[in-house]
Structures are given as structure tokens and as C-alpha cells.
Amino acid sequence: MTRDGETPHAVVPPATALEPGIAIKGVWHRYGTRVALADVSLQVARGEIFGLLGPNGGGKTTLFHLLATLMPLTEGQVELLGYDLRHAASAIRPHLGVVFQHPSLDRKLTVYENLRHHGHLYGMSGQPLRERIQVVVQRLGLTDRRAELVETLSGGLQRRLELAKAFLHGPALLLLDEPSTGLDPGARLDFMAYLEYLRDQEGVSVLLTTHILEEAEHCDRVGILHQGRLVAVGTPDELKARVGGDVVVVQTPDPAALQRQIHERFGCAPIVVDGSVRVEMAHGHTFVRDVVEAFAAQIQAVTFSKPTLEDVFIHLTGHRFWESGE
């Protein structure tokens, strides 16, 4: 621990290498009387990309700020890389790489200057820092842009530089708050590919928060945070398996009436979400045929799909993903 400054690449003391990246137990957080986190417990393994999915206001950013050592932990236990967050925050910081939702770059400095400034803050300097910057800019495809002012870079490149910065000092744990905010879908995929690269090549553990469902699909495991509670944790496939087969959504002028009729006729339990009737069931394709035959006059449209994470969210909370938080 005393040699952090000289060994920016050496990441974790061996004694703690077997500890999970993140272990959260029974964490609560309140802003006055409003509960932002309610009894949240989860673990992130070494070398895992964990996505914390939830609508805005669901508690993601609160948890992120706690983990990033920016807010005191009031209730519960958190260990990062085996260190107790409450008592050893300053021991954790050198091993933590953080990407914020809002850019933390200095727009008036060049790519290289931003990285050098960051390296100095982490106790790196001189030749080792120069070499490390070279490695990182090359890895993230920023070598040609080294001398350019950050304000002249595209949004995608700026996000990439954020990642380069967070990774410069060789952290064992990366925390990212809505990392792909403002990126188009292509750049978002690129960004996820870089995270996967860091996981595979450097064994980095990653926790990212997101409200973008496609982004969560790329995580090894996903936790769904809704109104401060962790309502589900699992791989994207495990979560989708909970939905119980296929998803059939029926558009109709009178959803309440159709909901009742479908229930009476087929014995299943449709729900009304956002003005349409929704049924989760195995062999949804035959149900589509049956329901159209039975209620042709009332139906405007029917969609049939394999469950997505949005369906998981609806299944667990009874809300559409987008309307529930905003």
C-alpha cells in the first residue's frame, strides 16, 4: 500500500485479490425523509461487468456516489476490493477508476494534458507516466488526438477519453455512472466493447449504472433498481426467463374490457400497461392466433415478441420503464 505512487499498474494487494470487487450488504440511504436506497445488497465479482439498471430517480446515482467515496455511508456495509468503505475510503481511492455522468475533463486542456493532470493526482509522474499515457491512448484509439483540445473532440471521443482517464492509473475497479449518456448507438457499442476488453485483458471489475436497456443487455449481470430497492439480480437471460415465455401486447380502444374478456376466455392473467393489454405466456404464437380470432373486432394491433429487459422491468414492477421514473 505504501508504494502506490511508484506502482501505478500494480493494482491490488495480493491478500485481497480473492475478495469480491464489490460487496454491498443492507445499505440504506435517505435524503431527509425520502428513501433513496432501501436495503440494497449485491455482489460484483472480480472481472465482472455488472449493470445497475433503473429509471432516473431509482437510486442508481446515490449508490454510485456512495461507492465512489463521494458521500458518507450512513447505514449498511460496503466492501470494495476487500476494503471497508466506511473506514478505509482513502485506501480504496487509488484502486478506483471513476467515470461520471457529466464530463470531468478540462475542455481547455489537450487530451494529453488531461491525462497527465490525472496521472499527477494519482501520484504518477515522469517517464512511467508518459509511457502509461502512450499505452492508454493507443488502446483507446486516441493517439492521433493527443495534442488536440478536448473541446474540439466529438462527444464519442470525449467519452472515450473519460474512460482512458479513469483507467490510466490501473484501477482494479471501474465505476461508471451512465457512461454512454449522449452517445449514438454505434459509439455506445464501441464503448461497451472497450469495457469488455478491459475486463478480459486486465481483469477489471466494472459497475455501471444505466437507464438504457440495450446497454444492460451487454453486461454479465444486471441488477434492477426500482424506487430504491433492488428488485432483481441475474444475467440478462436469467432475468428474461422470469417473464415466463413470450410477450403478447394487444392494442385496443378499451383495454380494461379486453383484459377482463381475455381472462374469462383463456384463464390467463393479462395486465394493462400504458393503455394496452399485455400477456406473458409460453407458446405466445398460438395465443396470438386465438386472441385475434376471438376478439377481432376489438383489436387494433397485436405484437408478439421474446422478452426484453424492458419486459422484465414491467413484469417486476407493473410499470413501463420510461414512465415510472420521469
Binding site: 505512487g5 461520471f100 501520484g123
Partner: protein
């Protein structure tokens, strides 16, 4: 055991120095790249000096200022201090913007103590203020002041202390602020009166008793006094009735230290 403790201490000190230095360097680089900032702290005091100095010249007849001292000359140290004040204000506004735009959050999660962060910010702003102050010193002959090298060095030391104190005051406010609008309000209510009631604008003599005490309690009064004493190092008689150099300078240094401690305390209490 002792050896390893010393190693640890010197290692920690080196890291702290590196952090302070890199934060300082960033302030310099940003300033050099934002040309619009170059003149901003100089132009307004200069206009004040020329217009107010010229306008008040005829009616300025204070009791305890030696005969023959025009208002342009009397006001010169005040304007020099105003340059420090404005630069400190601009620099601390930049820190509020750092927070708003997100740069500061990256610094706050780094393994750097708040003390280092505050020192880096304070020394950065102070350097900028000092650079502009020295530039303004070139105009001293226009005020009828001719400085020896010794006086010049002393003036620079005093300006450093004044700028450092001002910046720390700015930082104490900036670390509590979320928006720059709030900062402007506080500046008008606190920092400007601090300057107005320091003997920069008018002497302490002949003012009502309550005002005299306000001015006596104003830390900046002693900064201005130290500045006048250094500017007139060779002609102490020409200064008029202001505190003498040693106590004035001592108090100015003391206020610098106290405001720094207060700024560090404020930064430590600040969550994000």
C-alpha cells in the same frame, strides 16, 4: 522503524506537492488559453483609477495625508488591491464552474487530500493575481511613485499576502456555492465592502466613530497599510496616519493563514 516513518512522510509530502503543483499548473494553462480573461482583471481597476482619480483630485483634502498627495497617488495602492480582489474573484468563480461542469468531481475522487486541492487552487489564483498586480506596478511612476528594488520586492510580498487572503475568502464562499449567480451576490455584499472600507478608497481619519471601528476590524485595512508602507519605504513621512509596517504585515500574514485554514475546513465539510 523511524526510517520507514520518515520515508512514508516524505513520500506523502512528495505526492501532496505533485498534486498542488499540477492543480496550479492547470490554472496557469487555462488562464493563458483564455485570452478574454487577460485584460478583465486589469481594465476595470484602471478605469476606476483614471476616472475616480481624476474626478476626486480636486475635492480630496483629508487631514492626515501629507500635503501635496493627489488623489491619483492616494488611490493607487487601493487600485492595486482592487486588481488582486478582481483576479481572486474571477479565479474563484472559475472554481464554481469547475464544480458545475464536473471537473472537480474527478479531482474529489482522486487520492488527494482536500488540503492539497485547496492549496493548489489558492496558489494558482494568487499567482494570477500577482502577475496582473506586477503588470499594474509598471504604472507606479504615473502615480508619482518611484520604487527602489527593495521596496519593489516588499510590495510584491505584500501583494502576495493580500491576493492569497482574498483568494482564500473566495474559496470559502466558492466551496459552498452551486451556482455563479449566488457568488456574484456574495461578492457584492462582502468582498466589495471589504475593499471599500479598508482605507483603499478614503482614509480612516475623519470618518464617524462606528465606521472607524468597522474599518479597524477589517483585515484588509492592514493589507492596504502594509502596501502603503512598502510603496513609501524610503519616505515613511509621506504615508500619513496608517499602522506601521511590521504589525500591518504581521496581521496580513496572519489573516492569510487563518483564511487558508478556514478554506481547508470548508472544503473538508463539502460533500460533493
Amino acid at each position: 522503524m523511524m526510517q520507514s516513518f520518515d520515508d512514508k512522510a516524505s513520500h506523502a509530502l512528495r505526492r501532496a506537492a505533485l498534486a498542488v503543483l499540477t492543480l496550479w499548473w492547470r490554472e496557469m494553462t487555462r488562464f493563458l488559453r483564455q485570452r478574454s480573461r487577460w485584460g478583465s482583471a486589469l481594465a476595470q481597476p484602471l478605469v476606476f483609477w483614471v476616472l475616480l482619480g481624476g474626478g476626486m483630485q480636486a475635492s480630496f483634502r483629508p487631514t492626515d495625508v501629507p500635503a501635496g498627495t493627489g488623489y491619483m497617488e492616494y488611490f493607487y495602492p487601493g487600485v492595486l488591491t482592487l486588481v488582486m480582489l478582481f483576479t481572486a474573484i474571477f479565479a474563484t468563480i472559475a472554481i464554481v464552474e469547475d464544480r458545475r461542469e464536473g471537473f472537480l468531481q474527478g479531482v474529489l475522487v482522486a487520492p488527494v487530500t482536500r488540503t492539497s486541492i485547496v492549496l493548489g487552487q489558492a496558489l494558482g489564483s494568487t499567482t494570477l493575481a500577482l502577475l496582473q498586480g506586477v503588470l499594474f506596478l509598471l504604472l507606479a511612476p504615473l502615480a508619482g511613485l518611484h520604487l527602489s528594488l527593495g521596496a519593489l520586492l516588499l510590495v510584491v510580498v505584500v501583494l502576495f499576502c493580500i491576493a492569497f487572503t482574498m483568494t482564500n475568502l473566495g474559496l470559502i464562499i466558492a466551496w459552498r456555492m452551486r451556482s455563479t449567480q449566488g457568488f456574484h451576490a456574495i461578492m457584492n455584499l462582502l468582498l466589495m465592502p471589504l475593499w471599500l472600507l479598508s482605507g483603499a478608497f478614503f482614509p480612516l481619519t475623519g470618518v464617524p466613530l462606528w465606521l472607524l471601528w468597522v474599518m479597524r476590524c477589517n483585515p484588509l485595512t492592514y493589507g492596504i497599510a502594509a502596501l502603503r508602507r512598502s510603496l513609501y519605504l524610503a519616505h515613511p513621512d509621506a504615508v500619513g496616519a496608517v499602522p506601521s509596517l511590521a504589525p500591518a504585515l504581521g496581521l496580513t500574514v496572519l489573516f492569510g493563514v487563518v483564511t487558508l485554514l478556514a478554506a481547508v475546513y470548508t472544503a473538508r465539510q463539502s460533500a460533493l
